[in-house]
């Protein structure tokens, strides 16, 4: 006889996983709508407005269209890897969401190494994209596959260096505890903890830039660069194969922005110390998502070597300085 608690735990987790997949898909759908509506505001136009009121059903129409399309696999493709790649991209993104605490109570799994889990899972999607590009048997996709690996390796280092400094300051890898330490008004947030390191706002900026690059967002969207590589790694994908990459892209943005919220912006805490809860987390999350979209539509794409130079010559040294400074400050004041 299985103990009742375990059954409940299994049911709870299953519901959470279903909920998270729904959350990821919902976010992908409506962030993609935001990706069309928000720049429409910048660009003096309307954006989609035919399907449903204010175009609100546009993502549904897009999804139906993608699902009804044939999955084309052409000659020369490594079929197994070609079909595996979208799955390998979407699964880690959902896994990351499972660890992230959305509020004190809304969190699928509160594990003590949550931070580590997020960063280990999130590095898998690189492999998926790379395999997808490589298996496509397309020169543009192969170039994109090579780019995505170089780019993600370059940006994972400063990202992790920033996070290491943060872990040194917070003494924990548990995301719940990290948020709890930031309870109260906004000057308790990690981004303003000058007593730990005066470079904290800079490290938040570093985190945000690296997050953009890790999520392959403009101006670092090297693997998709439509004016150079047609559609980059996704060139040969059609229908829901492309759709999964698409969902994963937005899921990765959500994961990245959630992590920024949790690590730097006080998670579910209110900036004024009032009524903490899920809504504050979501507000912060979507403000960051808006910034991601904003950046994309404001800047042209960088060159690949500028991108790598930025990481190796600027971000990594800065992250190291931040790390050393944090250590020194902790030794002196901590």
């Amino acid at each position: 006889m299985i103990p009742q608690e375990i059954i409940w735990e299994v049911v709870r987790l299953t519901l959470y996983v279903v909920g998270l997949i729904a959350f990821a898909a919902f976010n992908a759908a409506y962030l993609s709508l935001a990706e069309r509506k928000v720049p429409a505001l910048f660009q003096l136009r309307y954006g989609p407005k035919e399907v449903g009121p204010y175009g609100l059903l546009q993502p549904v129409a897009d999804g139906l269209k993608l699902m009804s399309k044939q999955l084309l696999v052409q000659d020369g493709t490594d079929v197994f890897l070609f079909k595996l790649a979208p799955v390998m991209v979407i699964v880690p993104a959902v896994m990351c969401l499972a660890v992230i605490p959305f509020s004190e109570t809304v969190s699928a799994r509160n594990i003590s190494l949550g931070l580590l889990a997020v960063f280990s899972f999130s590095s898998v999607h690189v492999l998926g994209t790379m395999l997808g590009g490589w298996a496509s048997y397309n020169k543009y996709a192969s170039i994109a596959a090579a780019r995505v690996v170089a780019q993600n390796i370059a940006y994972e280092i400063p990202l992790l260096l920033v996070v290491v400094a943060l872990v040194m300051a917070t003494h924990t890898c548990n995301l719940h505890e990290i948020v709890d330490q930031q309870a109260g008004a906004f000057w308790h947030w990690n981004v303003f903890r000058f007593q730990v390191s005066p470079l904290m706002p800079v490290s938040f900026l570093l985190f945000f830039i690296c997050m953009l690059a890790e999520a392959n967002r403009a101006p670092f969207d090297m693997y998709e660069a439509e004016s150079e590589l047609v559609a980059g790694a996704f060139t040969e994908y059609s229908g829901m194969g492309f759709g999964l990459f698409f969902i994963a892209e937005y899921a990765n943005i959500v994961v990245g922005c959630s992590m920024a919220t949790v690590l730097f912006l006080g998670g579910w805490h209110c900036p004024f110390g009032l009524l903490p809860g899920l809504h504050w987390f979501l507000i912060k999350l979507y403000v960051l998502c808006f910034c991601v979209i904003w950046v994309r539509w404001s800047f042209p794409r960088t060159q690949f070597y500028t991108l790598l130079n930025l990481s190796w010559k600027l971000l990594i040294p800065l992250a190291f300085i931040n790390l050393v400074l944090t250590a020194v400050m902790l030794k002196i004041f901590g």
Partner: protein
């Protein structure tokens, strides 16, 4: 190459860019031989949209061929028509009334501004920034509205006729153009703030794809391309036609020869064109817009002539040979984009793919103008 890299097995591959590719702006194909992302050789393949315009020019009478000229460079159609009309007028000895010349200059300069605005937006799309396109389109739209009201077309204008223009401009046009000049002047600082000063844009353009003045001369590149390489070659100044000598304007020249220089030349040209427009509107004389006694059927005397105009993309030349009949014996259209593209193979060697596409964008190509 050092000893170390020689032992590494190097393998090149052929990347077929186009004929349908987001960066080629039409049916242009470039056969790239690549070493990784570096270009070893780039061979443009053109002619997908070839229509044998020159044969058409020999097959029909001068007036019947006239609308075809607007289908060459459809982004700046005024200049093609201008070149053709002037060549025929030169050969047939038709004098154009002053007012018509002024109107030609005004519409041509408006078209130049429209063409450059479109280019700025399209160039930014090549570099991955989509938003400026919508802003430049917004401004360009106002020009097209103005021209539409007068010429009856938004893109493929057939406005110039042998001996003048087909429609007189009205007060609305003059007032609208003045309003537009003020509007665009107020917008230029915004473009400079958002594009010229953008750090990523500058990184992508400065010292990228440098073309020397000598290369430009050897390949016959003209227009903003050669002016971005430090040569002040402008047909409007050197072989003045129409009433251009009456206006005070500068020829923007930047000596760097990189994509940024070509961009700056075009941005400055917009402002110079606005200056010309302003002066032309101020000095606009009255009178007829069509020469009297232009024969219905033109039969220019035997002989040949050449006529050059400064199009938005460079020198558009027309060589016309007449045998005394109502059809041209030979019509040669010298397209600026054709020569500008021909230096791509030479100048893209050793560039990275994105930089080569920046170069391609900065040449401002209109493929039907190349294919003719």
């Amino acid at each position: 190459m050092t000893q170390g890299t020689q032992s590494i097995h190097r393998e090149t591959f052929v990347l077929n860019l186009g004929p349908q590719h987001p960066a080629t702006h039409g049916v242009l194909r470039i056969k790239l031989t690549m070493d990784g992302e570096y270009i070893e050789d780039a061979e443009p393949v053109i002619g997908y949209g070839h229509r044998m315009q020159e044969k058409m020019g020999e097959n029909r009478s001068y007036a019947k061929y006239l609308p075809n000229t607007a289908r060459l460079d459809y982004v700046a159609a005024m200049f093609n028509t201008h070149g053709y009309v002037c060549a025929v007028e030169r050969l047939a000895g038709i004098a154009v009334p002053e007012r018509a010349e002024f109107i030609r200059v005004i519409t041509a300069e408006l078209n130049r501004v429209a063409s450059h605005l479109l280019w700025v937006g399209a160039f930014l799309v090549d570099l991955g920034g989509f938003t400026p396109l919508l802003y430049t389109f917004d401004d360009r739209e106002q020009i097209l509205d103005l021209l539409e009201a007068t010429t009856g077309a938004r893109l493929t204008f057939c406005y110039y006729r042998f001996g003048g223009v087909c429609n007189d401009i009205d007060d609305d046009f003059v007032a609208g153009t003045r309003k537009f000049i003020a509007h665009l002047r107020s917008r230029m600082p915004m473009y400079h703030a958002f594009i010229t000063k953008n750090i990523i844009f500058r990184k992508r353009c400065e010292e990228i794809a440098v073309i020397s003045a000598e290369t430009c001369r050897k390949f016959g590149a003209t227009g903003p391309v050669i002016r971005g390489s430090g040569v002040a070659y402008d047909v409007r100044k050197l072989e003045p036609y129409s009433v251009y000598p009456r206006f005070n304007f500068n020829v923007p020249v930047y000596p760097e020869g990189d994509c940024m220089a070509r961009y700056r030349v075009r941005m400055d040209e917009i402002e110079e064109s606005l200056r010309i427009l302003e002066q032309a509107l101020d000095q606009l004389p009255g009178g007829p817009v069509m020469a009297e006694k232009v024969p219905r059927i033109l039969k220019p005397a035997k002989g040949d002539c050449y006529f050059n105009v400064e199009s938005a993309r460079g020198t558009f030349g027309v060589r016309l040979v007449s045998d005394g009949t109502d059809k041209a014996y030979r019509l040669k259209l010298r397209s600026p984009c054709f020569s500008n593209l021909s230096l791509f193979q030479e100048c893209s060697r050793g560039l990275l793919l994105p930089d080569a596409l920046a170069l391609l964008g900065s040449l401002d190509l209109v493929i039907p103008d190349i294919d003719r």
